[in-house]
Structure formats: structure tokens, C-alpha cells
């Protein structure tokens, strides 16, 4: 590994040598609030080239000596042109002014943003928070993860299911980062709402493939959620009152243009409203969820900036004072941007992240049950970007993650006798080194290549178990064990993960891109239920659970057209092979099981499909159409007679349409329509009695042998802007109402079909029941303000 890095570092600057060159670099920000703009373009018309700002708004562009006209642009902002004489290195921090009008039609500017056909990236989806805010939302609650599900390649197993599936990957194969801190459970109230407060989110980006070498750890996708830094110009209060949550955000400068902060809080208040009517809540029960997001930054000097962000969220479900459960994430990240020089940008991040849940049953001291479980991470991640010249960029760094798994800290008391059933903790260290190089070989051909090397260490103290070989599908028994002391290595894994992508520019606005990458996943979400649930266990790789490996190939065609390139079109094909996929024996015992590994099965997977995406970015009517044709399957010894079977989240067709229309200055309307094929499920063929109970039986022993009926749904929402003038004077406050209807034509979309005997003690009748999680239309209203 070191040799490769060394090679990269010595060879690349050679490619970069040339005539005298100078660099312009700096930060691009929003003039109105000082927020860094991620992905803003700096473009030089005369050279037909440019760069984009990184996650901190930083850009660096090195050009041969000369005079150039630089255009700084970002969608929804006025483009600024700067004439610059490249005779020396220049620091140029720039603030772009947002388009003043609400109406998108005036946004049509010269080159609003670099068209997708021109960037090297593929298989990524970016959702601007302004777009997310416009999508009609369930119960009027704007939601980052639900909006994401309108994009190609992203699906869900059904309403209320937590998480999302990307290109046929499972929920546990997505890495969700909030300001670089991993979030292990992204949902409030199972899967109805996500943990991200939209008022505090700046930008989200989903990598479905062609993942750069700086990221790793999950097979299917990486969701990068970036929080706002807080208004550095003036103090602002925004908030909203919705059907489920009420929200409040305070942000402002601590020291103007030097330091700012943002504090955002949300709490559900159904329980407060319902308390007088619901005995459970009067008796000390609780049903609520809340989250708190904090961030502050300090601009030490032109070369140094620090950011501190934190998140804390919790769901509480208590039946009475002493029974119930709760779960939540806590994360914090400290980041330091340092400029070594105007071409070498670095960021070092320290992260703490914890997910835990608690469960308590029994309301007397002689009979009770208590269970706490958690996963804790400490992460250190230094990252360097070296902008060698305008055709060559090097990114390298490392990542160290220390995990502590606490599967069960649990005890039970029965009739006064206490039994401790805790499982031992597991400790792991995952270390990675990576380097990636973006190279523009010619105006028509660019490549990105890199490698990520990771080393996983399962550390003592701990016990590893050996299991017998048995018929696949039957519980394996322990044949022996070996105990290790603190700090001893129990098992290690090493993996090289090559990453490669290319872009062939067919014309200025047309390109073909392709990629190959390998991803490795050392953590496994253990879940055999239809939707993952808050009590699902994450478990690390051991001798018996091997790391999951995924190889993905993609090929895509990208094109933009129209005035200001406002139309974008893309078509991408993907193919992914995965190894060491986990499935479960029938009747697997996944909770507090010391010998969990004996209940796991291992197999391989394949997922393939085509994604089509067409977007109209600006204008009074804008929006997109996304269609995915896909299939995802597993082959596991012991299931489906060892043949390939579709996963529970397999969807053949997945069509989504999102449209936004400005009616006039105050009213706007948005709608989205979703049509997806039904997901697979297993039907029985027969039944038989056993001691009076009717048991379903599938004579073909098949898994997921039928598909549920198709799912479709239309949502619509109207937004009414508050008056901007009052009594001839401009109002200081800005406010708006959102009226929305989810599932407008009240379709009873099937979530599942289940088979059961009728609810009698001596039953002769069996039946099939189709369940819709939300079988009606759901209207809602919310009021939002800013002052």
C-alpha cells in the first residue's frame, strides 16, 4: 500500500510540471447568510474548463500565467464574473447573491451550474434542501430521506419501513453520515420520519456507485448529509408548527463573519395534545420523539477554520412509568480545515457517534427485565486535497474507527431472583488508507482512479466460537471456543478496494461515463424482518461472519440541453455482485443470543438495473421524472433449495415524477407521483393441522415466490407565501403555509399479504389478509416562519 501511495505521490507531480502557473483559491459563500456553497462552479469560458467548490466551499484553480474571465455560479444565485490577472497566486473568497425573487423562472442564468454531463461524477444524486422543502411531505413534515426516495435507484420496502434501499442493497448497506458522523438508525417512529431536521440541513448527496476512495464501509451507498453552519451575517429565528413536530431554529453570528452558530430543535407533540384523553399518557406513559442539532464554526484566520457539530435525538415509547423502550443517536464531530498552501487543502475530523436502545418490562421490583444495547464509535479522519493544476487533483488520507459493541447489558428478575444475561462487549478497529487521482487526460477524456486499503481488527477481550458443519438451514452447534485477553487480536481482515471511473466528453453537453468499484463492509445489520426495526443488532465481522464484499460496474450516458442547460437527461446501467451476504435460518433467534452466529447463513447476491432520469431544473414549472428497471437476488444455501431468489425489496419497475409549479407570487403547488411494482413475498400452497393449529406450508420450499400488487400514490401540496408588505411597509417577518395531501386518491397500497387462521380457538378456516399501512388520504397543514 505504501508503495502505491509513494508511486502516486512521485509520479503525479511529474505529469503536473509545465510552464509557470499560478493559483486562485478561496471559499465561495452565500452573501445573505455566509453559508458555504457546496458544489458551486468556477468556470473559465475561454478555456472551457473549471472546478467546483468542495464540501466546505473551498476551491482552488491553477492556470498558466495570463488574464482570465472567471464565472462563479450556483443554481439559484446570481452568477458573478471576475477578471483576474494570473501573475501571482491569489486568494479570492467570494459571496454569491441569491436570486431575490421566489419565482424560479428568473433563475435562468448563463451557466447556472455545471451540467451533470460535464462533471466527472456519476451515480450520485444531489438533493438541495430547497428542493426537499418543496416536495409534498407525509403529514406535512419535510423529510430528507423520504425525498431521497424520489430519486432513481432508491426504493423502500414500504410505508413506515425505516431506511431505504439503493440499487438492490439492503437497508444496512447504506452508510449515513451526518457531518461525517455515522448515524446507525436514521428513523423516528420506526420509519415514518427521518432523524434529520430539515431546517438544519444544508445539502445531501447520495453516492450509489463510483464512490471515491475517500469513502468506504458499506456496499450499497453513502449518504452524505451536511449541516448548515449558521448565519454569519445576522441573527435569525425560523420555525414551524406542523401536524407532528414543532420546530425551532436559532442561528446567527457569534462574531460577524468570524464565527456563527445554529441550534435546531424538533419535538413531536401528539402526546402533549392527547394527554387529557389517553389514559396511557396520564398514567406516566410517553410517546414522543425529539432531536436537537447544534453547530458552530470559527474562522481562525485565512488558513484555518474549525467546525463543531452535534446531534442528539431520541424516541420514547413508555407504556407506563417503568415499562417501554427508547432509542436514539448521539453524534458529534469536530473538524479543522487547514490550508497548507493555496493548492493543498486539508480537513481533519474527529467523530464520536453512539446509537443505543433501552428496553424495560415488568412493573414490580420482583419481576422485571432490563436491556440496554449500544454501538459506539470514535473516528479520526485526516483528508488532503492537492489541486495540482486544473487537470489534475489528488485526494488522499486515512481513517481510523474504533468500535465498541454492547449487544446486551441485560438482566431479568423473576420472583425476586436476579439473573444477569449480559453478553460480552466486542471491540474492533478499522483502519483505512486511501488515495485517489482525478486526471483530465484530454479535453474529451477524464479519469478518476484510486484505491482504498482497509484493515479490520477484532480485538480482545472476547471469545470466539467454533461451529459444526451441518445441513444448511439448520442451527449450527458450538464445538469449541477460545478466549482472548484485552488487546489480543482475535481475527483480522485486509482488503484492497480499487476504484475507477472515466468520463468521455462526446460534445460540450454530452458525455459517457463508466466506473468500477469494490466496497467492503465489516459491520452487519442483523435483521430478518420485513422492515428493519430499532432493536436490530449491528454486529462486527468475526471468524464466522466474513466481511461483505461488493463489486459494482456502471455505465451511463449524460446529456443536457435547452436554454442555460436547464434540461438534463441521464441513463445509467449498473451491475453489482456481492459476497458474504447474510441470511437467517428459519426460526433464527437474533436478540441476546450468545451463539447468534450459529443461526446465520451466508450467500452471494447480484443486483442489476437501468436508471433513467430527466430533469427540468428551472422555470416556472420544474421537476423530474425518474424510472428504474431493476432486479436484486440472493443465493443462499439453505433457502429456496439453494437457488436464486429475489430479495424482499426487489422492485422491477420504479417510476417517480416530481413537479413544482409557481402559480403566482404567493401560491405554488407541487406534486409527486410514484408507481412501483409490488415487492416479493412468500405465499403458502397448503396447510396442515398440528394440535389444532393450522400451519401454512409451501410444498415447493420457495422464498419470495409471488409479488404483491403494484404500489402507486399521488401527493400534492400547496404553499402560500405570507404577505411581504403590510400597510404599505415591508414586513420584517417572512412566513408561509403549507397545505398538503398525502395519497390523494386514497389508494390502499398493500404493504404485505399475510396468511393466518381465523381468530378462533377451534379454527377450521384460514385466510389471507392484505395490509395497507396508510390506506387513506392524509391531509395536513403547517405554518412556517422566519424572522
Amino acid at each position: 500500500m505504501q508503495r502505491i501511495l509513494l508511486l502516486l505521490l512521485t509520479v503525479l507531480p511529474l505529469i503536473a510540471r509545465a510552464q509557470e502557473k499560478h493559483t486562485v483559491s478561496g471559499y465561495i459563500k452565500d452573501r445573505s447568510n455566509g453559508e458555504a456553497l457546496i458544489g458551486a462552479t468556477v468556470y473559465i469560458q475561454s478555456l472551457g474548463t473549471g472546478t467546483i467548490s468542495n464540501e466546505y466551499g473551498f476551491y482552488s484553480l491553477t492556470l498558466p500565467a495570463g488574464t482570465y474571465q472567471l464565472s462563479y455560479a450556483y443554481l439559484g444565485y446570481k452568477t458573478q464574473s471576475v477578471a483576474l490577472d494570473f501573475t501571482k497566486n491569489t486568494r479570492l473568497d467570494l459571496e454569491l447573491e441569491p436570486e431575490s425573487s421566489q419565482l424560479q423562472e428568473v433563475v435562468v442564468t448563463g451557466e447556472a451550474e455545471q451540467p451533470a454531463a460535464q462533471t466527472n461524477e456519476m451515480s450520485t444524486s444531489k438533493l438541495d434542501i430547497r428542493t426537499i422543502m418543496k416536495v409534498p411531505a407525509f403529514l406535512g413534515e419535510v423529510d430528507v430521506l423520504r425525498s431521497l426516495q424520489l430519486l432513481p435507484g432508491v426504493s423502500t420496502v414500504g410505508e413506515g419501513a425505516s431506511g431505504f434501499n439503493v440499487r438492490g442493497g439492503s437497508v444496512g448497506q447504506n452508510l449515513i453520515l451526518l457531518d461525517e458522523a455515522p448515524v446507525y438508525n436514521s428513523s423516528h417512529l420506526f420509519g415514518f420520519f427521518s432523524v434529520f431536521n430539515p431546517d438544519a440541513v444544508k445539502d445531501t448527496k447520495l453516492y450509489k456507485g463510483a464512490v471515491p476512495s475517500r469513502y468506504g464501509g458499506r456496499l450499497a451507498s453513502l449518504l452524505d448529509v451536511r449541516m448548515k453552519e449558521g448565519n454569519s451575517k445576522k441573527t435569525e429565528v425560523t420555525g414551524g408548527i406542523g401536524t407532528i413536530f414543532s420546530r425551532l431554529v436559532v442561528e446567527g453570528p457569534i462574531k460577524k463573519d468570524k464565527a456563527s452558530f445554529i441550534v435546531a430543535a424538533r419535538r413531536s407533540y401528539v402526546d402533549i395534545l392527547a394527554r387529557p384523553f389517553v389514559p396511557l399518557l396520564k398514567e406516566g406513559g410517553a410517546l414522543n420523539f425529539y432531536d436537537l442539532t447544534l453547530k458552530t464554526n470559527y474562522n481562525i484566520n485565512a488558513r484555518n477554520k474549525v467546525y463543531l457539530s452535534g446531534y442528539f435525538g431520541r424516541d420514547n415509547f413508555l407504556f407506563d412509568k417503568s415499562q417501554g423502550f427508547s432509542w436514539g443517536n448521539a453524534t458529534s464531530s469536530l473538524r479543522w480545515n487547514h490550508l497548507f498552501n493555496d493548492r493543498l487543502f486539508s480537513n481533519a475530523t474527529l467523530v464520536y457517534s453512539k446509537y443505543d436502545y433501552k428496553l424495560q418490562f415488568g412493573n414490580d421490583d420482583k419481576n422485571r427485565f432490563n436491556w440496554n444495547s449500544s454501538i459506539t464509535n470514535f473516528i479520526f479522519k485526516p483528508d488532503f486535497s492537492y489541486f495540482i493544476n486544473r487537470t489534475n487533483e489528488l485526494n488522499f488520507g486515512g481513517e481510523i474507527i474504533y468500535y465498541t459493541f454492547e449487544p446486551a447489558n441485560a438482566y431479568g428478575i423473576t420472583n425476586g431472583k436476579k439473573v444477569d444475561i449480559s453478553l460480552p462487549r466486542k471491540y474492533n478497529l478499522e483502519s483505512s488508507l486511501y488515495a485517489g487521482n482525478s486526471l483530465k487526460l484530454s479535453p474529451a477524456l477524464s479519469i478518476d482512479y484510486g484505491v482504498r486499503y482497509s484493515h479490520f481488527n477484532y480485538l480482545g477481550p472476547g471469545t470466539e466460537y467454533f461451529y459444526n458443519d451441518t445441513v444448511p438451514g439448520i442451527r449450527k452447534s458450538v464445538t469449541g471456543s477460545k478466549t482472548y485477553t484485552s488487546g489480543q487480536t482475535i481475527k483480522t481482515y485486509d482488503n484492497f478496494q480499487p476504484r475507477f471511473s472515466f468520463k468521455a466528453q462526446l460534445s460540450e453537453f454530452t458525455s459517457v461515463k463508466g466506473s468500477y468499484n469494490r466496497m467492503v463492509q465489516y459491520l452487519h445489520l442483523i435483521s430478518n424482518t420485513t422492515a428493519s426495526n430499532p432493536l436490530d443488532v449491528w454486529t462486527p465481522s468475526t471468524r464466522n461472519i466474513r466481511p461483505e464484499l461488493g463489486d459494482q460496474y456502471t455505465l451511463g450516458y449524460f446529456r443536457s440541453a435547452g436554454t442555460g442547460q436547464q434540461y438534463e437527461f441521464s441513463a445509467e446501467a449498473y451491475l453489482r455482485y456481492t459476497q458474504n451476504q447474510i441470511d437467517y435460518i428459519d426460526g433464527a433467534d437474533l436478540l441476546i443470543n450468545r451463539f447468534l452466529e450459529g443461526d446465520l447463513l451466508s450467500g452471494k447476491g447480484r443486483a442489476y438495473g437501468m436508471e433513467f432520469y430527466a430533469q427540468k431544473k428551472t422555470g416556472r414549472l420544474n421537476g423530474w421524472v425518474s424510472y428504474t428497471l431493476g432486479r436484486t437476488e440472493l443465493k443462499v444455501d439453505g433457502i429456496n433449495k439453494g437457488d436464486w431468489y429475489p430479495t424482499r425489496y426487489n422492485q422491477t419497475h420504479n417510476l417517480k415524477i416530481a413537479a413544482f409549479y409557481e402559480l403566482n407570487n404567493r401560491w405554488s403547488v407541487s406534486g409527486n407521483f410514484i408507481f412501483t411494482s409490488g415487492t416479493p413475498t412468500t405465499f403458502p400452497t397448503s396447510r396442515f393441522y398440528q394440535q389444532g393449529i393450522l400451519i401454512p406450508y409451501n410444498a415447493n420450499e420457495s422464498r419470495n415466490n409471488v409479488t404483491l400488487p403494484a404500489y402507486h400514490r399521488l401527493d400534492i401540496s400547496f404553499r402560500l407565501e405570507g404577505k411581504t408588505m403590510r400597510k404599505g411597509k415591508e414586513r420584517r417577518n417572512h412566513d408561509y403555509w403549507v397545505f398538503s395531501i398525502y395519497n390523494l386518491y386514497a389508494r390502499k397500497n398493500p404493504f404485505s399479504i399475510y396468511f393466518s387462521q381465523k381468530d378462533d380457538r377451534i379454527s377450521t378456516d384460514t385466510q389471507a389478509t392484505q395490509l395497507s399501512i396508510i390506506g387513506t388520504m392524509v391531509p395536513s397543514v403547517s405554518y412556517n416562519f422566519k424572522f
Binding site: 423473576t414 424482518t529 415447493n700 380457538r761
Partner: protein
């Protein structure tokens, strides 16, 4: 002791905010040939022991299953070298009634089952496990979760004998009706729910002790009645079962206890339950289970204390 995940998830579901929507449908199912069903759960009590032989039937066929007639059914107590011949009765039943002071065996005895039918032999083995005595059955006042309504809960008291790995099926009869809904299936591994519970040699844990309460669902929006009211009588039996039978019944519970609603979010895929019946010859196999239990029992009438 460790919570049964289904128990947790069902309560999760109950706590959900929204109401789901269900309708009974009649989807088309794949065709399948019938297979032999062996329903052989016998015990050491002084009562007629019954083994049933049927054919499996299409899932939506609500008629009485086709009995298998003309079979020979033998149970052998291998430890005591005794053979019991079960004789045919109508409806696929094969019966053996012990003479006075006769029984199938005692805890620790090894048994085998041999069925000859249609040129095939179906066989199995089982071991009779031990069973603890039921010390008492009590009734207590409680409040129903969610509504706070006052109810009476029944509870039996027994202690798992020292020595890990005992497995039981607890079956309750209330006012003469066997509580036999899938949701009323109560199993115990030692005194808890599963091996990981580490509950050897202690009093059965509270959710098992109160597992003798009927599970009634709300009808027409009306709250179900109190599980027990004064005057009710309850009869509890603990059957010892083999570990294989415990696993089998756990699977049966997973596959048949479908409360619907939000619990469906957390349901596991439909899968075939296991069997301990082996088939000779190259015909298709059989389904079902053979288990020989020792039984302890106690009855109690609910007479409130004055």
C-alpha cells in the same frame, strides 16, 4: 430471561400512531400435491393417547382434511422395551387407551414411532423430559396497558428444576375451553423464553407465568373482557417437550401468530416449519411432529378474597 421479540414488536406496533387498514383477499396460490401429515403428541397421562394421520390440503380449502386410513401405528418405549399399538378410529385418529395403572413411561424414557402407510414407513424418535410441579395458581388485579381498565390476570407458579436445557409447552384450559390460539402458544426454555435467557432453576419468568391468560381481541371497537372474572375456573398443564419440539413450536408460533397491523413491519418471511418425521422409500416426505411428554397439572377456581 429475555423478552420474546414478537412480544416486544407487537407492543411496538400497539404504540404506533396511525391506524393501518386490512382486508381479507383471495389470491391465487400455486398447486401442490398433498403430503402426509403426522400429528403425534402423546403423554404419560391416564387418558386416551391420540395420533392423527391426514393429508395436507390446499391453503384455502376449509374442509376437514382427508384422513389416512388403514395405517399401522406403533409406539415403542425403547427404555422399557414395551410396544404400544394404536388402533384406528374414525377421522384419521389412531388411539391407545392405557389400562388402569399403565402409562407410556417415565421421564428419561426413550421412544420411537413407526407408521406403515401406503407402502411407506414414517418413523421418529422422542425422549420424555422431566416436568416441575405447579405450586399454585393465583389471580391479581392489574390495569390494561393502553386503556388503564381494571382487569384480573391469572398467574401460575412453578420452578424449573436445576440443570439447564429443559423445555416445556404450557397449555391452559379456561372454563373447559383449551386456549389454543396461535397467540396463546406458551413455550419455555428452562424458566425463560430461550437458551440465551440463562434462567435455569428459577421460578418461571413473569410473561410465562401470566401466559395462562386468554388473548381476546377487541370486537366492534369494544374492549375485550377481563381475562378472568370471579367464578372462572382454570386448569394449567405443563408438558415437557424435546428441544426439537421446542424449536418446532417456536417456528409454528412465528408462522401462525400474525396479529397484523403494524406488527407486519416486523414479520419474518413465511417459511416451512421443521419436522422430525423421516420417510423411507423415495416418495415425498411427511410433515408434522412426534413428541412424548410428561405432564404436571393444577386446577383453580377464581374465588376472590373477601
Amino acid at each position: 430471561m429475555k423478552p420474546n421479540s414478537r412480544y416486544i414488536l407487537a407492543s411496538l406496533a400497539a404504540a404506533a400512531l396511525f391506524s393501518s387498514c386490512e382486508q381479507v383477499i383471495s389470491p391465487r396460490l400455486q398447486q401442490a400435491n398433498p403430503v402426509v401429515v403426522v400429528d403425534a403428541w402423546i403423554n404419560n397421562q391416564q387418558e386416551t393417547q391420540k395420533i392423527y394421520l391426514y393429508e395436507s390440503q390446499p391453503y384455502f380449502d376449509n374442509s376437514t382434511p382427508q384422513p389416512l386410513t388403514g395405517a399401522s401405528v406403533l409406539v415403542v418405549n425403547q427404555t422399557q422395551s414395551k410396544t404400544y399399538t394404536f388402533s384406528e378410529a374414525p377421522g384419521g385418529a389412531y388411539l391407545w387407551t392405557p389400562a388402569v395403572a399403565d402409562e407410556l413411561g417415565v421421564a428419561g424414557d426413550q421412544f420411537s414411532l413407526a407408521i406403515q402407510y401406503g407402502g411407506q414407513t414414517f418413523s421418529s424418535v422422542s425422549r420424555m423430559g422431566r416436568v416441575p410441579a405447579i405450586d399454585s395458581i393465583t389471580f391479581k388485579k392489574d390495569k390494561r396497558i393502553g386503556t388503564g381498565t381494571e382487569i384480573f390476570l391469572g398467574e401460575f407458579w412453578a420452578t424449573d428444576p436445576v440443570g439447564g436445557g429443559d423445555t416445556y409447552w404450557i397449555r391452559t384450559t379456561k372454563n373447559g375451553t383449551l386456549l389454543n390460539k396461535p397467540s396463546e402458544l406458551v413455550l419455555a426454555y428452562d424458566a425463560g423464553f430461550s437458551a440465551g435467557s440463562l434462567t435455569d432453576g428459577v421460578t418461571f419468568i413473569s410473561p410465562i407465568r401470566t401466559g395462562i391468560n386468554p388473548n381476546e381481541t377487541a370486537q366492534n371497537g369494544k374492549e375485550p373482557p377481563s381475562p378472568y372474572t370471579p367464578g372462572d375456573s382454570v386448569h394449567v398443564r405443563i408438558y415437557s417437550i424435546t428441544l426439537a419440539a421446542f424449536n418446532f413450536l417456536t417456528e409454528v408460533s412465528t408462522q401462525t401468530n400474525r396479529p397484523g397491523g403494524f406488527a407486519e413491519l416486523f414479520s419474518t418471511p413465511l417459511a416451512n416449519v421443521s419436522t422430525n418425521i423421516t420417510t423411507s422409500g423415495n416418495q415425498s416426505g411427511a410433515v408434522g411432529f412426534f413428541n412424548v411428554s410428561a405432564v404436571s397439572q393444577r386446577g383453580q377456581k377464581f374465588v376472590p378474597k373477601p
